[in-house]
C-alpha cells in the first residue's frame, strides 16, 4: 500500500527548467547552439558613437557625484547633548501617551504629567530629550528648529491632518530633521483588509512627503491605557540607534532648550513695581555651536537679550561611565525633568515644590533607591530660595557694628503662603492661602503625625533664638528648611502628597556670621579665589541668584544617605549637607590663601602696572591743572630728548625723574616704561638722531618688554589681564557700589595704554643688536637654508634614511636580493646587540624599547609609503576634501582636550553638550508671570551682527496650498532664523536688466522677490510666512516659503509711473506738449527720454519751453493729432516700511498663548468693522460705447504709386471719354412686319425647345426601364447557369469518386493478388 502512495519522479519536458537542462546537456556535448552574443557578434558591441559614449560616461559620473554631500568638519562634541525628540501630532492622537510609554520603557518610571522637556538616558552613549509639541503654530515653528528627531503621530482612523502637513513644511524650511511616522489608533479598524489598505495608503503619502522608504511605525492597540510594550520597545530601539546628519543652522548657532527657569529678581524691586523687568536664569543643555559669554541670544516668543552670565553645571543626567557591558544598569537609567516634577521635585518660576512620598515613604526608599534620588536630594538640599538667603543675609557696615538683617531694613508685612492641597476625594488640587501663624502649628502637627524625626520643627523656636553660626547640624538644617518653606504634611490615604510652598520674606534668628550656614562650596570654587573666607560669604550675598549648586553636592548627599537612611529623607539631606560643607569651608580657606599668594607672585607685573596706572591717572589729573607743564615738557622734548621717545609729556617727565633717581632696575619703573612703550615708538620715528646718555634707558625698556613677553604666565596676563578677569571685574563692580554708599574708584582699563597716542601697527626695533658681532649673527644662523637643519629634515640624514628604507629590495625577476649596506650592517649589529642585551636585560631595557620603537617607526613609514602608492593613488578631489575635514576635526578635538573646563570655556566658549545656566536681565515681567512650562523655551544664539536690523531680500513663493494670494504691504508673520516676527514685505520681480519692479500681489505659481525691514540673517537661511498665528483655521496656514538672498542697508524697488501730457501745438513732426511736468527743471532731467503716444508714435523729449511752465518741445516719428495722449515711462523708488514686530507669544497669559495678533491688514480691519471700500468711480467697469469711426480714403502719393509694382498699383480705370458723334452707331428700328416675324420665330423655337426637352426625359425613362428588365434577365440567366454547373460538378464528382473507389479496389485487389 505504501509503495503505491509514493509518486514516481517525472522528469520535466517543458518549461524553463527543462530548457535549462537541455541546454546544459547540449553544452556538455559541445554542440551548444549559440555562443555568447558578445563573442558571436563582436561588431554589435563596439563603440558606435564616441559622442554618445562620452555622454553616458558623463551621465554616470554626474549621478555618482550627485550622491556626495559636501564634506563638513565634524564638530560634534565628544559627549554630545541629548538628542531632541519632538513628538508632534494633532490633538488627541496620543502624544503624551507615547512619551510616557517611552520614558517608562527606558527608565521604568512613570511620569504623571509631562510638562516641558524630559531628559532620559537611553543607552550607553545616548540621551534623549523628549518634548511634546502642541498644535499651536508658534510651538511647532520653534520646536522644528531645535528638533533632531521628529516623531510624527498620525491618527490612522482619521488619516492625515493639516497639522501634520504644516509641521512637515516647517521642517522642510528650517532644515529637515529626521522624521519618523507613528500610526496610532489602529485598533479602531475592525476589518483587517481595511486596516491594511489604510496603512498602505498612509505609508505612501508619508513617503511622498518625507522620502521614499521613511520609517513608519504602527502602534496597534492599547493595553491598560498604554501602548503595547513590545512595540514601544522597538520604537525606542529605533530612536536610540538613529543617526543624524548635521543641519546647517543648528550646527552654526548655539541653542538651548531650557528645561528649568528661575527668577532672580530682587523681590524688593518686584514689590515696589510688580511690572519691573525681571532677571531670570535658564538651565539646559547647550547644543549646536559654542556659546560665548556676553553674546546675544534670541528667545523666540520673547525677544533679543544679551547673556549677562553663563556658567556650566555638572550634568544632571549624565551618561554612564564607560564600562564594558552591554546594557545600562538600573542606577544609570536616569531621568531629568525638572518642570514635570520627576522624583517629586517641581520647579516653578519662583519656588521649588517637593513631593514627599507620604508617611511611609522613607521605608520604601530603603528598599529601592531611585537613581535620581541623590540628585533630587542634592537639589533639595542646595536650593535654598534666593529670597530666603536675602532675608538671612547680614551686612555689617562697620567693623564692630551689629550686622543688619533684612528685618532691620525691610518692612514687616506678612504674605500669605500658598499651599497646594490635594483633595482626597476628588483629587483636585486646591490652593490654600496659609499665613505664618497657622503655618507653624500646621507644621508641627504635620511633623508629629508624620515622623518623630521631625523634632526640628518643635525646636524651631529655640533655635531661631539661639542659633549660632553653623554649630549644630540640626539647627542649621532647620533654619534651612524653614527658609525653604517646605511644609510637611501628611496625606493618609494618598501615597504621594504634594508639599508645595511658596516663598515669603522671613525673619531669621540673628547670626553672628551672616549667611555662613548656607554658603556653598562650589560657588566659591568657581568664584574669585582671591577672597578670604568672610569675604566669601559676602560674595554669596552678591550672587544670591546663583544656584549652580545642583549637583556638585551629589556625592556628599549620597554618602550621607548611605549612612542614615532611616531618617526622614529631606531633613536628612539637609543634615548631611551641612556636615559636609562645614569641613569643606574650613578646608578651603587655607587653600585660598595659598592661591592668593601664588597669584600675587605671578602677577606682580600686573599689579605694578596697575599701580602705575593709578599714577598715570593721577598724572592725567595733574595734566588738567597744569597745561603749562605739558608745554614745557614738549619743549624739552624738542630740545633734545629725541631719543627718549614717545611718552606723553608728563609721563616722560616722570620716568625721567625716576630713572635719574634710581638707576638700578627698579621694577616699577621699568614697567611703567613698558606701558608707555607705545608712545616711545611714536616719537622715535621722527627722532632717529641718537643721544647717547639716554640710550640705556630705552634699552632697558625694550628688554623689560621682551622679558615680559617671555615669561609664560605673564604673556597671557599681559594681554588679557588676570585669568578670570571678567568675573573679577564684575565682582569689583558689585563691590564698588557697596550699599550704594561708597564707591571704589579705580582707574579704568583704557588708561593702561596711552589713549591718545599715535596709532601705528609697526613694531619698531628699539635697539638694534649689533649684527656685526659674530655671536649675534650666529643667533639666527639656522633660520636660513644655509644653516643647520633639524635631524628629520636634513638632506644628508634624509638620504641616509631613504637608503635604510629602500636600500634592500628583491628583484622579483631574477630573484636577486639586494641589501642596503648601512641598513644591513645596522641590523646585523642590531641583532648582535640584541644578543648582548639578552645577557644583561635589566640594564638595557630602555634601549631595547628604543629599538622596538625604531622598528615600529620604520614599519609605519613603510606602510605609509605603501598606502600612498596604492590607496591614495586614485584619491579623488572628494576624498582629499574629506581627509582634510577629518584632520581639522581631529585637531579641533585635540587642541583643548587636556585643559580643564574653566580655562577651556574661556578659549572656546561653552561647548555643546554642557549643562549650562544662563542669566538674562531685563526680561519682561509677563514672561515670568505668565510662565507655562508646556510651551518650549528656546535660547537661540545669534552670531555677530545678526542682532542688527536692515533690509533683507528674499526669494519667496506662495505656498501652493495656501488659498489666498499675498498682497504687497500687508503685514506678514515670518519665521526666519530663530525669530518669529511680523513685518511688511514688498514683493518684486527682477527684470532682465536687474531692475526690481514692484508687484502688487505674489504671482500664483512662481517665485518672486520680497524685501522687508527686519533682523539681519545670513544668506541662504530658509523662512516661512504665515498670515496669523492666532486661532486655528481649517485651511493650510503656511502662506509662503523661501530663502534669504541678500542683506543691505538700503534697497531699490521701483514701480512704474507713467506721466501723461497733451500736445498743444503740432508742427510737422514736432509738437509742443504740456501737462507732463511742472517745471523747467523737471523737464531738464528728462531731456532725451523716450516718449510715446497712445497710438504708438514714438518720440523724444527735446527741450523745455518757457511759456507754459513744464511744457516742452518733442519730436515724433510722425505727425501727431491733437487728440493724441503722450506719455513717458518712469520708475519711482518705493520705500519699504520699517516695521519689525517680534511675535511675543510667550508673554501672553496662560491659555492665551496661541492668540497673539499683531498688526492687522486693512482687509481684515475693513471686514471686522464692516467698512465698505469706497471704490473709485473711474475704476468701475462700464459698457464701452464706441463711435463708428469714419476713415478717409487712402491716398497714395503719385511718386509712390509710380514705384509700386503693377500688381499693387491702384487700378483706377480711366473714365471713358464721350464717343465722338461720328463714331456713334445708328440704332436699328424694325418694321412691324419684321417684328411679327421675329415674335413668331421666338414662339416657335420655344415650343420646339419644350418638345425636345420632353422627348429627352421620356427617353431617359425608357432607358431606365430597359436596364431594369435586362438586369432581371441576367440574374435569372446566372441562376440557371449556376444550377447547371452544380449538376455538372455533382456528376463529375460522383464520377471521380467512382473512379477512386475503383482504383482503390483495384489496388487492394492487386495487393491481395500479390
Amino acid at each position: 500500500m505504501e509503495e503505491k502512495e509514493k509518486k514516481k519522479h517525472r522528469a520535466k519536458h517543458s518549461g524553463p527548467k527543462a530548457e535549462k537542462k537541455r541546454k546544459r546537456y547540449l553544452n556538455d556535448l559541445g554542440i551548444g547552439e549559440e555562443e555568447n552574443a558578445r563573442k558571436r557578434n563582436p561588431k554589435a558591441f563596439t563603440v558606435q558613437s564616441a559622442v554618445r559614449m562620452a555622454r553616458t560616461f558623463h551621465r554616470t559620473q554626474d549621478l555618482k557625484t550627485k550622491k556626495h554631500h559636501i564634506p563638513v568638519v565634524d564638530r560634534t562634541p565628544l559627549e554630545p547633548p541629548p538628542v531632541v525628540v519632538v513628538v508632534v501630532g494633532p490633538p488627541k492622537v496620543g502624544k503624551s501617551t507615547v512619551i510616557k510609554c517611552l520614558i517608562k520603557n527606558f527608565t521604568r518610571q512613570k511620569l504623571v504629567e509631562i510638562r516641558g522637556p524630559v531628559t532620559i538616558v537611553s543607552g550607553k552613549k545616548r540621551r534623549l530629550t523628549i518634548i511634546e509639541c502642541g498644535c499651536d503654530i508658534n510651538t511647532m515653528i520653534d520646536l522644528a528648529k531645535v528638533a533632531d528627531l521628529v516623531l510624527m503621530l498620525i491618527d490612522a482612523s482619521f488619516g492625515f491632518e493639516m497639522e501634520t502637513f504644516e509641521f512637515l513644511n516647517i521642517c522642510q524650511v528650517h532644515g529637515f530633521p529626521k522624521i519618523m511616522g507613528v500610526l496610532t489608533h489602529l485598533d479602531t479598524f475592525k476589518n483587517n483588509k481595511q486596516l491594511k489598505k489604510t496603512k498602505k495608503k498612509l505609508k505612501h503619502r508619508f513617503w511622498t512627503e518625507v522620502y521614499p522608504g521613511a520609517k513608519l511605525f504602527y502602534l496597534s492597540g492599547m493595553v491598560h491605557g498604554e501602548y503595547q510594550k513590545q512595540e514601544i520597545h522597538n520604537l525606542g530601539r529605533f530612536i536610540s540607534v538613529m543617526k543624524f546628519r548635521p543641519l546647517t543652522w543648528q550646527t552654526s548657532h548655539p541653542y538651548i532648550l531650557a528645561d528649568r527657569m528661575e527668577e532672580l529678581t530682587n523681590p524688593e524691586e518686584v514689590r515696589i513695581n510688580p511690572k519691573c523687568d525681571r532677571k531670570i536664569s535658564l538651565y539646559g543643555y547647550l547644543r549646536g555651536a559654542h556659546l560665548k559669554n556676553k553674546s546675544q541670544i534670541h528667545m523666540p516668543g520673547v525677544g533679543d537679550f544679551t547673556v549677562s552670565d553663563v556658567s556650566f553645571l555638572p550634568d544632571p543626567c549624565a551618561l554612564p561611565e564607560q564600562q564594558k557591558k552591554r546594557s545600562l544598569n538600573e542606577k544609570e537609567k536616569l531621568v531629568y525633568a525638572p518642570l514635570s516634577g520627576v522624583g517629586g521635585i517641581v520647579y516653578d518660576k519662583d519656588a521649588v515644590y517637593i513631593d514627599l512620598g507620604g508617611s511611609h515613604a522613607h521605608e520604601k526608599e530603603e528598599e529601592e533607591v531611585r537613581p535620581n534620588h541623590e540628585l533630587v536630594q542634592s537639589l533639595i538640599s542646595t536650593h535654598s530660595a534666593i529670597d530666603v538667603k536675602m532675608a538671612s543675609s547680614k551686612v555689617s557696615l562697620f567693623m564692630d557694628s551689629a550686622p543688619l538683617g533684612s528685618e532691620d531694613v525691610g518692612q514687616e508685612f506678612v504674605m500669605p503662603k500658598e499651599e497646594r492641597q490635594v483633595d482626597l476625594k476628588t483629587g483636585r488640587v486646591r490652593r490654600k492661602a496659609v499665613f505664618e501663624d497657622d503655618e507653624k502649628e500646621n507644621d508641627d502637627v504635620a511633623s508629629d503625625e508624620e515622623d518623630d524625626q521631625e523634632e526640628g520643627d518643635e525646636e524651631e523656636g529655640d533655635e531661631e533664638a539661639a542659633s549660632e553660626d553653623g554649630g549644630d547640624g540640626d539647627d542649621e538644617n532647620d533654619a534651612e528648611e524653614e527658609s525653604e518653606r517646605v511644609l510637611l504634611r501628611e496625606g493618609i490615604a494618598v501615597r504621594r502628597a504634594k508639599r508645595l510652598k511658596t516663598e515669603m520674606a522671613q525673619e531669621e534668628a540673628v547670626n553672628e556670621l551672616p549667611a555662613f550656614a548656607d554658603s556653598d562650596d562650589d560657588l566659591e570654587m568657581s568664584s574669585e579665589e582671591e577672597e578670604t573666607a568672610p569675604e566669601d560669604s559676602e560674595m554669596e550675598e552678591e550672587e544670591e541668584g546663583d544656584i549652580q549648586r545642583t549637583c556638585e553636592d551629589e556625592s556628599s548627599g549620597s554618602e550621607s544617605e548611605a549612612a542614615n537612611k532611616t531618617a526622614d529623607s529631606k531633613q536628612y539631606d539637609m543634615d548631611s549637607e551641612h556636615i559636609e560643607t562645614n569641613p569643606q569651608i574650613s578646608e578651603q580657606s587655607p587653600k585660598r590663601k595659598a592661591v592668593l599668594t601664588t597669584d600675587s607672585g605671578n602677577c606682580t607685573a600686573e599689579e605694578a602696572s596697575e599701580s602705575e596706572d593709578e599714577n598715570s591717572s593721577l598724572e592725567e589729573g595733574d595734566d588738567e591743572g597744569g597745561s603749562h607743564e605739558e608745554l614745557e615738557a614738549e619743549e624739552s622734548n624738542r630740545n633734545g630728548f629725541q631719543h627718549s621717545q614717545a611718552k606723553k609729556a608728563d609721563s616722560v617727565r616722570q620716568t625721567k625723574v625716576k630713572t635719574v633717581d634710581t638707576e638700578d632696575d627698579d621694577v616699577e619703573n621699568l614697567l611703567r616704561e613698558e606701558e608707555e612703550y607705545e608712545e616711545k615708538i611714536d616719537l622715535s620715528a621722527d627722532t632717529t638722531g641718537a643721544l647717547k646718555w639716554k640710550e640705556d634707558l630705552t634699552q632697558k625698556a625694550a628688554e623689560a618688554f621682551l622679558r615680559q613677553q617671555r615669561s609664560t604666565p605673564n604673556l597671557r596676563k599681559l594681554v588679557y589681564g588676570t585669568a578670570v578677569e571678567d568675573e573679577d571685574q564684575e565682582s569689583e563692580d558689585a563691590d564698588d557700589e557697596l550699599g550704594g554708599l561708597f564707591r571704589v574708584s579705580r582707574p579704568d582699563k583704557a588708561s593702561k595704554q596711552k589713549a591718545n597716542a599715535l596709532d601705528c601697527s609697526k613694531f619698531l626695533v628699539e635697539k638694534l643688536q649689533d649684527w656685526d658681532l659674530e655671536e649675534v649673527m650666529s643667533s639666527i644662523r639656522d633660520c636660513f637654508v644655509t644653516g643647520k637643519w633639524e635631524d628629520d629634515k636634513d638632506a644628508a640624514k634624509l638620504l641616509e634614511e631613504d637608503e635604510e628604507l629602500y636600500g634592500d629590495f628583491e628583484d622579483l625577476e631574477t630573484g636577486v636580493v639586494h641589501k642596503g649596506k648601512a641598513a644591513a650592517g645596522g641590523e646585523q649589529s642590531g641583532s648582535e646587540e640584541e644578543e648582548d642585551k639578552d645577557e644583561n636585560m635589566s640594564k638595557q631595557e630602555p634601549e631595547e624599547e628604543e629599538k622596538k620603537k625604531e622598528r615600529m617607526d620604520k614599519k609605519r613609514k613603510l606602510k605609509e609609503m605603501f598606502d600612498a602608492e596604492y590607496d591614495e593613488g586614485d584619491a579623488t578631489y572628494f576624498d582629499d576634501l574629506k581627509e582634510e575635514m577629518h584632520k581639522q576635526a581631529q585637531l579641533n578635538r585635540a587642541e583643548f582636550e587636556d585643559q580643564d573646563d574653566e580655562t577651556r570655556v574661556q578659549y572656546e566658549g561653552f561647548r555643546p553638550g554642557m549643562y549650562v545656566r544662563i542669566e538674562i536681565e531685563n526680561v519682561p515681567c509677563e514672561f515670568v508671570l505668565n510662565f507655562d512650562p508646556h510651551y518650549p523655551i528656546i535660547l537661540g544664539g545669534l552670531a555677530n551682527s545678526e542682532g542688527n536690523v536692515g533690509y533683507v531680500q528674499l526669494r519667496l513663493k506662495k505656498h501652493r496650498w495656501y488659498k489666498k494670494i499675498l498682497k504687497t504691504r500687508d503685514p506678514l508673520i515670518l519665521s526666519l532664523g530663530w525669530r518669529r516676527f511680523q513685518t511688511i514685505p514688498m514683493f518684486y520681480m527682477e527684470d532682465h536688466n536687474g531692475r526690481h519692479r514692484l508687484l502688487k500681489y505674489t504671482p500664483q505659481h512662481m517665485h518672486c522677490g520680497a524685501a522687508f525691514w527686519g533682523p539681519i540673517t545670513p544668506q541662504g537661511t530658509g523662512f516661512l510666512a504665515v498670515q496669523s498665528v492666532s486661532g486655528t483655521t481649517p485651511d493650510f496656514r503656511i502662506a509662503a516659503t523661501g530663502v534669504v538672498l541678500d542683506l543691505d542697508k538700503s534697497i531699490t524697488i521701483v514701480k512704474k509711473l507713467k506721466l501723461t501730457g497733451f500736445p498743444f501745438k503740432i508742427f510737422k513732426n514736432t509738437c509742443f506738449i504740456k501737462g507732463m511736468f511742472n517745471s523747467q527743471l523737471e523737464v531738464a532731467k528728462f531731456e532725451g527720454a523716450a516718449i510715446r503716444s497712445v497710438s504708438g508714435i514714438r518720440g523724444q523729449i527735446k527741450k523745455a519751453l518757457r511759456a507754459p511752465v513744464g511744457a516742452f518741445r518733442a519730436t515724433f516719428e510722425d505727425k501727431l493729432l491733437m487728440s493724441d495722449i503722450v506719455f513717458v515711462r518712469t520708475w519711482y523708488p518705493v520705500s519699504i516700511p520699517m516695521f519689525y514686530n517680534p511675535v511675543t507669544s510667550l508673554l501672553k497669559p496662560a491659555g492665551e498663548k496661541d492668540s497673539w495678533s499683531g498688526m492687522k491688514t486693512t482687509g481684515q480691519l475693513r471686514y471686522e468693522r464692516g467698512i465698505k471700500l469706497k471704490q473709485n468711480k473711474d475704476s468701475l467697469y462700464k459698457p464701452i460705447v464706441r463711435e463708428k469711426r469714419h476713415f478717409n480714403k487712402l491716398h497714395i502719393p503719385k511718386a509712390l504709386q509710380k514705384a509700386l509694382p503693377f500688381k499693387n498699383k491702384p487700378k483706377n480705370l480711366e473714365k471713358k471719354g464721350k464717343t465722338p458723334k461720328d463714331q456713334w452707331r445708328p440704332a436699328v428700328i424694325r418694321e412691324p412686319h419684321e417684328k411679327k416675324i421675329s415674335a413668331l420665330l421666338s414662339a416657335l423655337s420655344t415650343v420646339n425647345n419644350y418638345k425636345i426637352k420632353k422627348a429627352k426625359a421620356k427617353h431617359r425613362e425608357q432607358l431606365k426601364e430597359h436596364l431594369k428588365v435586362k438586369q432581371k434577365e441576367d440574374e435569372q440567366k446566372f441562376k440557371r447557369q449556376k444550377e447547371a454547373k452544380k449538376k455538372v460538378y455533382r456528376i463529375l464528382g460522383q464520377r471521380e469518386k467512382k473512379r477512386q473507389k475503383s482504383s482503390l479496389k483495384g489496388s487492394s485487389k492487386r495487393e491481395k493478388s500479390t
Partner: protein, 490 residues
C-alpha cells in the same frame, strides 16, 4: 552739486550716510550711548538724509575758526555721476525721479514697536582716546556693534580728530552702506554705528600726513567681506617712516591673505605712482575678491629662509641712490644667504609724486612661504638730517635681520591681520606661530575679545635649537564662524 560737500571739516561735523535712498530712520533705539548734552544738541540738527547720494551735512565748526590749525582738505569730488536719472535721459525710464509724489504719510509705516527684546540693540562699546582708532572701527564694522570713542585728544591744545583720522573715517564711510557716523562739534567724541560693507569701484584721497599703508592695512581687513569686490584707488603717500609702506604690504599681506583662502587674480596691489612725504602724490590700486567664509590655518612652521628680495626705490633724486642702497644691504645680507636680489625702482615724471625721497624694503621668504619684511625710508624733505643711502641700506638689512631674529610665521606688521583672519574663520582651530607680540597686536587681542568674545591661547615656544632667533609665541584660537553677510547669493 550739493551744498556743503566741499566745505566738510572734521572738527565739527556730522556725517550721515545713506546710499541708494536709505529711508528715514529714527535714531537707533535704546539710544546706545548715554544722552550727552553735545549729542542732544546735534541730534536736533541732524536731519536724516534721504537723497540718493552720499551727502555730508555740514555744521560749521565753532572752534575750527578760532584755532589756526590745518583744516581738512576738501572732500574729494564725487566721481560718480549725479543721480542716475539725471542726464541719463537717453536710457528710457530713467530711475530715481525726484517728483513731489512722496507717498502720503499715512501709508508709511514708521511705527516701530520697541520692547526690551528688540533686535538691533547690540551693546555699544565705549572707548577713550584716539589711539587704535583704526582697529576699533574695523572691528566694529565686522562685528556690527556700535562704537563710541570719547575724549579724543580732549586735553591737548589741538583737540579732536586729525585730518588723517577724518580721512580714514571718510574711507570707512565709503566702503560701507548705511553707516552712521556722528562727531561732536569739537571732534572729541565719535559715535559709529556700522553699516554693511559695500565695496565696488572707489577712489579715495588719503591725507598725506600718514602713509597709504595706514588706510590700506584696515582695508585689507575689510576687503574680503564686501558685497561687491573692492577696487579702490588710493592717493597719497606710498612710503613713509611711520606706517608700513605699500611695498611691504604688497609683499607680506597679500601672501598672508592667500593662506586664508582669499586669492585669485584680482587680489592685487599695484603701485601706479610713488609719493613720498610730505606732499605725497602717490597712487595705488588695490583690488580684492570677496569671500563668504575663510579657511582655518595651521601655520606653525615658518621654515628656513631661502631667498631675500627687496625693492630700493628713489623718486626725484639721483637714480644712483637706489644702487648705493642695494650695494650696502647686500654687503650685510650676503653673509647669510647667497640668493639675494634687490630690485631698483626709480620712478620718473608723473609717477614720481611730489616730493623727493628714497628708501628700501626687504623681504625674506622661507621655504614654507613665510615672508618677513623690513623697511626704511629717508627723512622727508625739510625734516631731519639728510640720510646717506649706504647707511640706510645697512640699517634696513639689519632691521631685516632683527625681524628674522623675532621670527614667526607672520611678520610683525601683519600679526594683527593674521589674528583677525583666524578669528573670522570657521568654528575650527587655527594656529599661527608669531614672533614677540607687538603692542599694537596686544591691544588688538584685547579688542578682539571685547568685540568678538574671543580669547587666544597664547603659548611661548622656545626653539629647541640654538641659532634660530628669539622666542616665539604660538597663538591658537577657535574661529567664531563668521560669514560674509554682505555677499549676495543668486
Amino acid at each position: 552739486m550739493f551744498p556743503g560737500t566741499d566745505s566738510f571739516r572734521c572738527g565739527g561735523s556730522i556725517l550721515v550716510r545713506a546710499r541708494r535712498s536709505a529711508p528715514d530712520r529714527p535714531y537707533p533705539k535704546g539710544s546706545p550711548h548715554p544722552a550727552e548734552e553735545q549729542r542732544a544738541g546735534l541730534r536736533s540738527d541732524t536731519s536724516p538724509d534721504t537723497s540718493t547720494l552720499l551727502r555730508f551735512q555740514l555744521k560749521t565748526c565753532r572752534l575750527g575758526e578760532q584755532r589756526k590749525r590745518q583744516s581738512l582738505p576738501p572732500v574729494p569730488r564725487q566721481t560718480q555721476p549725479g543721480p542716475p536719472g539725471h542726464g541719463g535721459g537717453a536710457t528710457p525710464g530713467a530711475p530715481a525721479r525726484p517728483l513731489p509724489f512722496a507717498p502720503p504719510l499715512s501709508r508709511r509705516f514708521l511705527f516701530q514697536p520697541r520692547g526690551p527684546g528688540m533686535a538691533g540693540e547690540a551693546q555699544c562699546l565705549s572707548y577713550t582716546g584716539c589711539n587704535f582708532l583704526r582697529q576699533r572701527l574695523v572691528l566694529a564694522t565686522l562685528s556690527g556693534r556700535p562704537l563710541k570713542i570719547r575724549k579724543i585728544r580732549a586735553k591737548e591744545e589741538d583737540p579732536g580728530l586729525r585730518d588723517f583720522e577724518a580721512s580714514f573715517i571718510r574711507l570707512i564711510d565709503k566702503v560701507t552702506n548705511g553707516s552712521r557716523i556722528e562727531i561732536n562739534q569739537t571732534g572729541t567724541t565719535l559715535y559709529y554705528q556700522p553699516g554693511l560693507l559695500y565695496g565696488g569701484s572707489l577712489e579715495h584721497d588719503c591725507s598725506p600726513s600718514r602713509g597709504i599703508g595706514y588706510y590700506l592695512e584696515s582695508l585689507l581687513c575689510l576687503a574680503p567681506f564686501m558685497k561687491h569686490p573692492l577696487k579702490i584707488v588710493l592717493r597719497g603717500v606710498t612710503n613713509d617712516q611711520v606706517d608700513p609702506s605699500v611695498d611691504v604690504l604688497k609683499a607680506t599681506a597679500l601672501p598672508l591673505l592667500k593662506k586664508f583662502g582669499i586669492d585669485g587674480e584680482s587680489l592685487e596691489i599695484k603701485i601706479n605712482r610713488r609719493g613720498m612725504p610730505p606732499k605725497g602724490g602717490g597712487e595705488i590700486l588695490f583690488t580684492c575678491p570677496v569671500r563668504k567664509v575663510l579657511q582655518p590655518v595651521q601655520f606653525t612652521d615658518p621654515g628656513k629662509i631661502k631667498r631675500i628680495r627687496g625693492t630700493a626705490y628713489s623718486v626725484r633724486v639721483s637714480p644712483q641712490m637706489a644702487n648705493r642702497m642695494v650695494e650696502s644691504a647686500r654687503g650685510i645680507l650676503n653673509k647669510f644667504l647667497p640668493d639675494i636680489y634687490i630690485y631698483t625702482d626709480h620712478m620718473k615724471g608723473v609717477s614720481s609724486g611730489k616730493s623727493p625721497g628714497f628708501g628700501m624694503c626687504l623681504t625674506a621668504e622661507t621655504i614654507n612661504g613665510t615672508i618677513l619684511s623690513a623697511e626704511l625710508a629717508s627723512n622727508p624733505q625739510g625734516q631731519g638730517a639728510a640720510v646717506l643711502p649706504e647707511e640706510l641700506g645697512q640699517n634696513c638689512a639689519k632691521l631685516l635681520l632683527e625681524e628674522v631674529y623675532r621670527g614667526g610665521c607672520v611678520d610683525s606688521t601683519n600679526q594683527s591681520l593674521a589674528l583677525l583672519l583666524m578669528t573670522l574663520g570657521q568654528q575650527d582651530v587655527s594656529k599661527v606661530l608669531l614672533g614677540p607680540l607687538s603692542p599694537y597686536t596686544i591691544e588688538f587681542l584685547r579688542h578682539l575679545r571685547s568685540f568678538f568674545q574671543i580669547m587666544f591661547k597664547i603659548e611661548t615656544k622656545t626653539a629647541e635649537e640654538e641659532h634660530t632667533g628669539g622666542e616665539k609665541v604660538l597663538m591658537t584660537c577657535v574661529g567664531i564662524g563668521f560669514c560674509n553677510l554682505s555677499k549676495t547669493i543668486r
